[in-house]
């Protein structure tokens, strides 16, 4: 994407122009950070045992990736090339720490549930990827949307994996405040059905992500690499 020309050609482009909308919709499918770019797999495997954790992780990533994108985008003309990765890392790390501190002070219950996951955001390659590939070359507005789009693209895969894993691994999905909602009827268990313990372990998340990629590519053939 040639940034310089974008800026000169359409200086007054609306925030929700067709092209900018694509920034949000593209990562949901065609350039999904997890299933197509295969980034952020580590966290997708680690925290998809339960839906509520996946939701919280997704929300935190969306917030941090949007803020990080905007900050890097605003600084993009002064960041020296040689230390740009360090600058990105510092910005993301600082944001994550601030978010964590604020959560701890004002919503301690949520902060406890998130525990280590907030820290894990720093290591999420999607963030670094977006900062490096998009925010460094684009204006803050589009960068914000790009962050939102990629955050959402990350979120829906996480949710899909978490739903599958929690239903087959635990037989029920627990929601904060509501309690567990059973998806596998008790009669199944009486008939000898057992929760699949493998579903709770990370390897199964990889298989589930693989199946999602398979389904996505069979529907969206332009993603299939030419042999």
């Amino acid at each position: 994407m040639s940034t310089a020309t974008t800026e000169i050609k359409v200086p007054k482009e609306g925030l929700f122009s067709k092209k900018n909308k694509k920034l949000i919709t593209d990562p949901l499918n065609d350039s999904n950070p997890i299933t197509v770019q295969v980034l952020g797999i580590c966290s997708a495997l680690a925290i998809t045992v339960q839906v509520q954790q996946a939701v919280m992780m997704s929300l935190s990533v969306i917030v941090v990736i949007m803020a990080g994108n905007v900050i890097i985008s605003m600084l993009r003309n002064v960041i020296p090339d040689r230390i740009r990765i360090i600058v990105q890392l510092v910005v993301v790390a600082a944001l994550v720490i601030i978010v964590n501190e604020v959560l701890k002070a004002f919503v301690p219950d949520i902060s406890e549930k998130l525990s280590v996951f907030v820290g894990l955001i720093i290591t999420n390659c999607i963030l670094m990827g977006r900062l490096e590939a998009f925010a460094l070359g684009n204006r803050p507005g589009p960068s914000l949307l790009d962050g939102l789009g990629n955050g959402l693209g990350y979120a829906w895969i996480l949710l899909a994996v978490a739903v599958v894993r929690e239903i087959f691994g635990s037989g029920a999905i627990s929601f904060p405040g509501i309690g567990q909602i059973k998806f596998i009827p008790a009669s199944f268990f009486e008939a000898g059905y057992m929760n699949n313990n493998l579903m709770i372990l990370p390897p199964m998340a990889l298989v589930v992500v693989g199946i999602i990629i398979w389904i996505q590519r069979s529907k969206n053939t332009k993603l299939v690499e030419k042999a």
Binding site: I47, V49, Q50, Q53, N77, V78, I79, P80, D81, R82, I83, I86, V87, V90, A94, I97, I98, E101, V102, K104, A105, F106, P108, D109, E112, S115, V116, G169, S170, N197, I200, L201
Partner: protein
Amino acid sequence: MAFDKNSNGFTFTFAIIMVIVVGTLLALVSMGLKDKQNQNAENKKRMDILGAIKVEATRENAAQIFEQYVKEAYVINFEGNKVDGDISAFTVDIQKDYRDRELAEENKYFPVYKCEKDGKTLYVVPMVGKGLWGPIWGFIALESDYKTIFGAKFDHKSETPGLGAEINQPEFQKRFTEVYGQRIVDSSSKKYFEILKGGSVPVSKNQVDGITGGTITSKGVEEMINRTFIIYFNHFSGLQSVTN
């Protein structure tokens, strides 16, 4: 551009400014929120202690309800003797003491919370230990026979969700009091308390089953209970001989 953003001078200047700005910002945020975070942590501790004696509390009313139920809070030393003086039991950080290898046993203090609930006297014993990934901790409330478990509350820092992390769920904690009837911490047994493999049925009164797939965390809970009660049984046997 009037300046060369890739010159050595600017690169260094940028890095230095960035570090100072970010460092100051983080320090300010941390200092500004410190009081509120400490307050949250204290209320959480009060809620956990109240949870062990099965009293529901929220962060808002924890301090008030704590006053109401906890009649006496004091510390004992590693021999189980009550320590007089002005050591506040609530502020003793047993987790820090536990991890501090330099600190000698005789310089550690162990808090006891004596509570009154519905005419019963309950002793809440705090404990810390090691899980699979990080620290675990808990509170066990004993009835006035110094062995029957009235309530148990456990929590962890970073155990695996769905596995070891289940120790902070009511499903696990109820095994100590409701599922198999009230369990006891048995000072006459070789192991005061035993956590069996997940799914097995306890045969004696000082056993519960652990979490399937969370074996190391379950064993951590067992180790924590046994290690802690060595000290507290010294104290309780002293109390018992006074009352008898």
